[in-house]
Symmetry: C2
Subunit: 113 residues, 2 copies
DNA sequence: GCCTTGTGCAACCGTTAGGTTGCATGATCG
DNA sequence: CGATCATGCAACCTAACGGTTGCACAAGGC
């Protein structure tokens, strides 16, 4: 009955995913990592008004949501974007839109007969 | 230069939008409102483990992000989904994906020559 | 071996989020 | 008018968030 349960959620749930996206600083990080080149924490922190440790925390939040992945090279950690995870979020939003459209169609037909 | 600033953001910024989506309870509300039928606060609260006032707060957060709109009928407020706002979020995600793909293409060409 | 550089870890702090309870208010139905 | 039902408003509480500072540590460069 409940359509809510009919909406399949990616592993781990979408809420943490959206939560990770719901912060200006984190969006900025995603934007920079989206330029393609993997960056170290120090590189991400330099030029930012924020502390390196704060950046680290944000990266961990993003990593927890699967939005970002780190790979160490020597003594430094290179972080890069995990684009597929963005698709999960998009798919979820698309599904709700579809559910909405279909519901409106049903209501429309119900009115017309 | 910075590609981050090249990503157009919907009015009000996307961060609040994603923030509003980043909560399990709020996602459930969106799911129920996505069924098409406008619902009152009391209707949304009944059957929920949560207090009516908590629901009200969540609805206000969603309204603040433009994800939901209320229309009063007599003494009750009917809430309904604002689907277009979901498209804003989707467009933003799509843009980052596109930025990523293009960046990878450039890097690829750089390697090949 | 030393000094530097990139991180991690832990404690701490102010603010906000999510939730509750209690009471006031406004529209509706007898 | 009086009882009732759907809300709003405000205070309060706890836990988490976003940020900082300080120090320890491991990997390179010289």
């Amino acid at each position: 009955m409940s359509l809510a349960s009919a909406v399949p959620r990616p592993a781990g749930g979408v809420a943490p995913l959206f939560f990770a996206l719901g912060d200006e600083t984190r969006l900025a990080l995603i934007g920079r990592l989206g330029e393609g080149k993997p960056l170290s924490i120090a590189e991400l922190a330099s030029g930012s008004a924020i502390t390196r440790q704060a950046i680290t925390k944000h990266l961990n939040v993003l990593a927890g949501a699967g939005l970002v992945r780190d790979r160490r090279r020597g003594r430094e950690h290179l972080w890069e974007l995990e684009v597929r995870r963005l698709d999960d979020a998009r798919a979820y939003l698309a599904q709700i839109s579809r559910q909405w459209d279909e519901a409106l169609d049903r209501l429309q037909q119900f009115v017309e007969r």
